[in-house]
Symmetry: C2
DNA sequence: TTCATTTTTTACCTTATGGTAATTTAACCG
DNA sequence: CGGTTAAATTACCATAAGGTAAAAAATGAA
């Protein structure tokens, strides 16, 4: 059952009772996307909060003539254009399926509702906090590590990412061009 | 009164009743720091949540042989090693006064207590959310803007920052060396 | 399978930024 | 106020990464 999957996925991070996850799932609906499907278009407001059961997705931003990836999300993680969901305003961010994906999702209005309920509220607070921490870690990597080091860290965080995600997306996430990542990779092996 | 200052500072971002800010202040104590005072040492756990009444502070990370600045905080803003406060674990981050500063602060235990109270809880949730959004904006700047553009954006965000903060700290925040920032500045004028 | 398209690799040169060091300027302190 | 220290500037060269382009490889569709 889906609530069990959620509880298992998040138990290492914070202890929410199974009832909280069951409430979470009760507000959610299943949804699936094909690879490259645009889940949320740029300059729109996020309407859903997603949990990936299987597959992967990425949050992108248009820069000059190509996309930059701000975040990868894989199986058993929350994802969405969180900035837009929180501000209830459109953002230039695009949310894209990077593989065929099975997700569950909750309407934004239900997300806000859960935020105000005692059970769901702890989950939402933890979600905001862990999102901040992840972002700060990304900032630290960008400011203190070389592109090569960032690539190694990404591989440790998501082993096998190179088998699932196009190299150009990984390169954009690292803040370099696909050519540079290709050079780094050939140097490493 | 301090609660008024807090309400006025945050009214543009979310509407908390004055009672919430009064509760916030009731848990807080005044504290002052001299320029360059280390408010929290690296590899310790954050014990307080601060609000700056006057002055400025920065969050730093040691990199090889110098410090990198992750965040600046000026008058009328919250600050602390938020990652450490949330995880209750030590971080390599150092929190430093960049000018003589007047702050109020709340013990971490009171911060967690307020998180669980209905009034304070909204503030804490908003704090986590806005911290995330700020971090994501920083990540976007690092990934999509040149050092020169990032410098211009920083000046717009904190007008007069150059009169208050050492250039080497600004350079480290931008992800470049003081020499590079000096070159950019001489090119701009 | 074959063809078309996209992605990755490689090469060549350019550019932005880093490293070292010396000089000038500013800040700090007695 | 002068003297010491730290910070900012400037110059020189080194290096990591970008831009363009072309070839090779992989992917996807018919």
């Amino acid at each position: 059952m889906t609530a069990q999957i959620l509880k298992k996925a998040f138990d290492p991070f914070f202890d929410a009772p199974i009832a909280a996850w069951e409430e979470f799932v009760s507000y959610s609906e299943p949804v699936s996307f094909q690879k490259d499907a645009i889940i949320k278009e740029q300059n729109t407001t996020e309407k859903y909060f997603y949990f990936i059961l299987q597959g992967s997705a990425g949050l992108f931003l248009w820069k000059e003539n190509n996309f930059v990836c701000l975040d990868f999300a894989f199986d058993n993680s929350f994802c969405c254009d969180y900035m837009s969901l929180l501000t209830k305003k459109p953002t230039p961010l695009e949310f894209v399926a990077l593989e065929d994906a099975e997700m569950i999702r909750m309407k934004a209005s239900d997300f806000y509702l859960l935020c105000s309920r005692s059970v769901g509220q702890a989950i939402m607070q933890a979600s905001a906090e862990s999102s901040f921490i992840e972002k700060q870690l990304q900032q630290i990597e960008l400011l203190t590590k070389s592109a090569e080091e960032r690539y190694k860290i990404l591989q440790q965080k998501f082993p096998g990412i190179h088998q699932r995600i196009a190299q150009k997306h990984i390169a954009s996430y690292l803040g370099i061009t696909p050519q540079s990542l290709s050079r780094i990779r050939s140097k490493l092996k």
